[in-house]
C-alpha cells in the first residue's frame, strides 16, 4: 500500500466527513427542493460514523499521518470526540429548528460536515500550517452557516461580522506562524519543540513576536478577552443551532489546537509567555462573568458565559505552563472540562432552540421562559440541570470539572488566579440562576416548539452530566490517557 493510503486510513474520520460533505454539497444542488429528512439523516450517520471511527482508533499508539501534518493520538481522539459530540447534538436540533425559521437548504448539512472536518483537523494537527488550514476549513463553513438565513438581517450581520473579524484574526495568526517559522525553521510542532529544547528554552524576540500573534489568533477563536468582542453579537444573531455548534464543537477544536501548540510546541519557552496567559485567563473570567450578569437575551448570556468558560480553560493552560514545565493536571483538567462543557451547552441550546416556535420568532428573551417549570416540567428540569452544571454545582459534571480546574491551578501555585476564578464563578451563579427564576418562580405561558430530537439531546446531555458528575473516574482516566499521549 502506498504511504498516502496509510495516512488516509489513519485519518479516516476526517476523510469520511470531507467526502460526505462533498457528496451532500453536490446532492444539495441536484435535489431541489431539499428532500425532507434525507440530508439530516445522512449527516447524522456521517458524524456518528466518524465517532465510531475515532472510537475504534482509540487505544492504538500515536501515529503520524500525511508526513507529520497530523498526529493521530489519544489527545486528538479526546477532543475529536468532544467536537463530534457537539456536532451531533447540534445536528439533532438542526432540522426541525431550521424548518421553523424557514430555512430549507441542503448545503447547511454539507457546511456542517466541512466544519466538523476542520475541527477534527485542528484536534489532530501537528503542524502550524495544518492548524491554520483546519481552522479556515472550520471557520469558513461556520461563517456561511451564521448567515444561512439570508432574509434575517441579524443573522447576516452576525455572519458578516464574524467573517470580517475572523479573517483578520486568521491573517494575524498566519503572520505569527511565519514568525515562528522564521525563528525555529519549521512549522512542525515536533520540530519546533526540538529546536526550542536544543536552544535550552532561550528563544529570540522573533519567536516571542510569533507566539504573541498566535495567541491573538487562538484568543479570537476561543473568544478570550480582549479578542471576545465578536462573540455576543455573533452568538445572538446566528441561528440557535449554529450557535450551539459554535459554543461546543468550535470551542473544543480551538482549545485542542491551542493546547497542542502551547504544550506540544512551545512548552519549553513557557517562561516567556505564561504571564500573558495568566492575564488573558483572569481578564476573560472576569469580563465573561460580569458581562453575563446584565444580559436579558439568553443567547447573548450564553455568549458571555462561553467567554467566562474560555477563561476557566485558559486558567488550565496557564497552570500547564506556570512552572515552566508541562503539568499533567492542567491539560487533563482542560480536557475533562471541555467534555463537560460540550454536554452542558448542548443541553442548554436544545432548550433554546425550542424557544423558537412554529411562528419562527427566534428571539431568546429570558422572559420567554416564564412559567416553563409548570408547562414543561421535564424541559425545565433538563435546562436547570445544565445551568447547575454550568454554575459548577454538584452533583454534576460541571462541578467535578471545576474542581479539577481549580485544583490544577492551585497545584501549579496559581492561587491568585484560582481566587479570581472563584470570584467569577460566584458571580456566575447569579446569572445561571436567573433562567431558573423565570422558569419556576414567575408565571407565564411559554410558547415552546415540539421536537423529540431536541428533547433527546437534552435528555442525553442531562443524564451524562449527572452520571459523570457522580462517577467521573472513567472520563478522568480517559483524559489522563489523552494527556499522556502528548506529554509522554
Amino acid at each position: 500500500m502506498p504511504p498516502v493510503m496509510d495516512s488516509v486510513a489513519l485519518a479516516a474520520p476526517l476523510v469520511l466527513l470531507a467526502l460526505m460533505g462533498v457528496v451532500l454539497m453536490v446532492a444539495a444542488a441536484v435535489f431541489r427542493p431539499m428532500p425532507k429528512g434525507a440530508f439530516w439523516m445522512a449527516s447524522c450517520a456521517t458524524v456518528a460514523g466518524a465517532l465510531v471511527l475515532v472510537a475504534l482508533s482509540s487505544g492504538q499508539p500515536a501515529n503520524e499521518a500525511f508526513s507529520g501534518m497530523l498526529r493521530m493520538d489519544a489527545f486528538g481522539n479526546f477532543f475529536a470526540c468532544a467536537s463530534l459530540l457537539g456536532g451531533l447534538f447540534a445536528l439533532l436540533l438542526t432540522e426541525s429548528y431550521m424548518e421553523r425559521i424557514g430555512v430549507r437548504v441542503g448545503e447547511l448539512y454539507a457546511l456542517m460536515l466541512f466544519a466538523l472536518c476542520g475541527m477534527l483537523g485542528m484536534a489532530y494537527s501537528n503542524d502550524l500550517m495544518m492548524v491554520f488550514i483546519s481552522l479556515e476549513v472550520m471557520s469558513l463553513a461556520i461563517y456561511a452557516m451564521c448567515a444561512i438565513k439570508r432574509s434575517d438581517e441579524r443573522a447576516v450581520e452576525s455572519g458578516f461580522k464574524y467573517f470580517i473579524l475572523g479573517a483578520f484574526s486568521s491573517a494575524i495568526m498566519l503572520y505569527g506562524v511565519a514568525f515562528v517559522f522564521g525563528a525555529t525553521g519549521s512549522t512542525s510542532l515536533t520540530t519546533i519543540a526540538h529546536s526550542l529544547a536544543s536552544s535550552g528554552g532561550e528563544a529570540g524576540t522573533l519567536l516571542l513576536v510569533g507566539v504573541a500573534l498566535l495567541f491573538v489568533g487562538f484568543g479570537f477563536k476561543v473568544a478570550s478577552v480582549p479578542f471576545h468582542m465578536w462573540a455576543p453579537d455573533v452568538y445572538q444573531g446566528a441561528p440557535t443551532t449554529v450557535t450551539a455548534l459554535m459554543a461546543t464543537g468550535v470551542k473544543a477544536a480551538s482549545f485542542a489546537a491551542f493546547g497542542r501548540v502551547v504544550i506540544g510546541a512551545l512548552g519549553e519557552d513557557a517562561g516567556h509567555w505564561s504571564g500573558a496567559l495568566w492575564v488573558m485567563a483572569a481578564a476573560t473570567m472576569l469580563v465573561g462573568n460580569l458581562g453575563a450578569l446584565v444580559q436579558n437575551d439568553l443567547k447573548r448570556m450564553f455568549a458571555y458565559s462561553s467567554i467566562a468558560h474560555a477563561g476557566y480553560m485558559l486558567m488550565a493552560l496557564s497552570s500547564v505552563s506556570e512552572a515552566g514545565a508541562v503539568e499533567n493536571d492542567g491539560i487533563g483538567s482542560l480536557a475533562f472540562y471541555m467534555l463537560a462543557y460540550v454536554f452542558m451547552n448542548a443541553g442548554a441550546f436544545a432548550v433554546l432552540s425550542l424557544m423558537t416556535d412554529e411562528k419562527g420568532d427566534d428571539a431568546t428573551d429570558i422572559a420567554k421562559l416564564s412559567g416553563l417549570g409548570k408547562s414543561h416540567p421535564w424541559l425545565a428540569a433538563g435546562l436547570s440541570l445544565c445551568l447547575i452544571s454550568l454554575a459548577g454545582l454538584p452533583p454534576t459534571m460541571g462541578f467535578i470539572g471545576k474542581f479539577y480546574l481549580f485544583a490544577a491551578a492551585i497545584g501549579a501555585g496559581q492561587v491568585g488566579l484560582a481566587m479570581v476564578g472563584a470570584l467569577g464563578a460566584a458571580a456566575g451563579v447569579y446569572y445561571y440562576l436567573r433562567p431558573m427564576v423565570y422558569m419556576y418562580m414567575k408565571d407565564g405561558h411559554p410558547e415552546i416548539a415540539q421536537d423529540g430530537r431536541a428533547k433527546l439531546a437534552l435528555g442525553v446531555c442531562g443524564a451524562l452530566l449527572v452520571v459523570f458528575g457522580l462517577m467521573p473516574s472513567a472520563v478522568l482516566a480517559w483524559a489522563d490517557v489523552a494527556v499522556r499521549s502528548v506529554i509522554g
Binding site: 417549570g373 409548570k374 447547575i388 454545582l393 454538584p394 452533583p395 462541578f399 467535578i400 474542581f403 481549580f406 485544583a407 492551585i410 497545584g411 492561587v415 484560582a418 481566587m419 472563584a422 470570584l423 464563578a425 460566584a426 451563579v429 447569579y430 440562576l433 431558573m436 427564576v437 419556576y440 418562580m441 467521573p472 473516574s473 478522568l476 482516566a477 489522563d480
Partner: protein
Amino acid sequence: MPLLSLVTLLPIALGIVVAAMPQSASRMGALVASIVVFVVSIPLWTGFDAAGAEYQFVEDMDWIAQWGVRYHLGIDGVSLCLILLTTAMTPLILLAGFSGVEKNFRGYAALMLVLEGAMIGTFVALDTFLFYVFWELVLLPMYFLIGIWGGERRIYAAVKLFIYTVAGSLFMLVALIGLYYQFHEATGAWSTDLSDLLTLSLTPATQKWMFACLALAFAIKVPMFPVHTWLPDAHVEAPTGGSVVLASVMLKMGTYGFYRFAMPLFPDAVTAYGPFLIALAVIGIVYGALVAMVQDDVKKLVAYSSVSHLGYVMLGLFALNAPGVSGGIYQMLNHGISTGALFLLVGVLYERRHTRRIVDYGGITKVMPKFALIFMIITFSSIGLPGLNGFVGEFMILLGGFQFAPIPTIIAASGVILGATYMLWCFQRMMFGPLQNEANRNLKDLNPRELAYLLPLVVLAFVMGLFPNVFLDRINPSVERFVERMEGHFEASPYACGDACLPSWLAQEAE
C-alpha cells in the same frame, strides 16, 4: 446492610418517586415516605454504642480513585442526634404542609425529601469532598422551596440565600483544595479523607488562612453576625416548612461544620481566632436579641432569635471544654425543636389570618386555648425555663463558657434575660389582653392534624429537658474526643506559644 447509605439515599430516591406521583396521591405518599425514612433511621439510635469507637456504621470505599476521594460515611453521637432530628422533623413538616402549601404539593414534598437526604449526607460524610458535594446539594432544593412557595419577596430572598452560601462555599472549596495539596506534599499520596487530613501537622500560617476560608463558609450558614443578613429574609419569605427546616436543621450544618471540620483540622488557628469568633458569637447573642425585640413581624422575631440562639452554640463550641461543647451540641438540638415548633405555630396563625404582624393579634388565648398552651410551652422552652430542653443547653454553655472566657460569657448571659423579654413580650401581646381585632373572634383552635405535628415537639421539649442524659450519654464521648484533640494538639504542637502570646483572659484560664 449499609444503613447510613440507606438513610442518606432513601429520602432522595423517595423524593424522586413522589415527584412522579399524581398530585392527589402525593400527600399521603410523601408523608408515608418521610415516616419510612424515620423508621429506617431508628436502628441507628438503637444500634449505636454510646461508649464505642469514634465512628460507627462506617462505610468506606473508593469513589474517585484517581484523586483519592472516598465514599466514607460514619457517625458519632453528634451526627447521630442531628440525623434523628432531621428524620423526625421531616414528617412533621410535610404534615404541616398539607394546609400551608397551596400549590403543587407534589413538587414541594419531593424537594423536601431530597433536601432531607442531602442534609443527612452532610452529617454522615467523613470525606471532605463528599461533604462538600452534599453541602452544595442542600442549597438547590432550599432555593426552590423559598423561590417557588415563598411570600412576596421570595425571589429576592432565595437568590440572596443562594449567593451568600455559594460565595462562602467557594472559599471553603479553595481551602479544601489547598489542604488536599498540603497532604500530598506531606505524604506523597492523594486523599480528601477527613481521618487522613487530621494526621497533618500544618504551620500556623497555613492553618490560619484555611480556617478563615472554612469559617467564613460555616459562619454564613450558622449564621453569625455580621454575615447573618440573608437569614431574616429567607425565614420571612420561606413557606412554613421551609422556615422550619432552615431553622431546625440547615443552620446546624454550619455549627456542625465547625465541630467536625474547621476546628479539629486547624486547632492552632482556633487558638488564634477563637477570641475573635467568641466576640462575634457574643455580639450575635445580644444583637440578635435586641433586634428581635423591636420586630413587629412575629416571623422575623423568631428569625432574629435564631441568630441569638446560634450565638450560644458558637460560644459553647469555642469554649473548648466538655460542658461548653456538649452544651453547644445540645443547644443545636434544642434550637431545632423549639424554633422549629415556633415557626410551625406562626404558620398555624398565618394560615388562619394571613398576617404575621404582632399588632393584628391579641387575646388569642380566648379563642385558641390549645394553641396558646402549646405556644406557651414552646416559648418557655425557647427562653430556657428549667424543666424544658432550652435550659439544659444554655446552662451548660454558660458553665463551660465561664470557665474559659468569663467576661464574654457574662455579657452573653444577658442574652438569656433579653431572650425572655422578647419572647414573653411577644407572647403577651399576641395571646393575652382583650380580643380587640374582630377578625380574630372566629379563629378555630388547633385541629387534630395540627396537634399531631405539634405535640411530638412538645413531648420532646419535656423529654430533653427532664432526661438530658439520654442524649448527652451519646454526645459526650464524641465531645470528649473533640476536646482531647483540641487540648492534646496544643501540648503537642511545636507552634504552641505558651501564655505569653495568649490574651490575658485566655492565659488565666489555661492555668
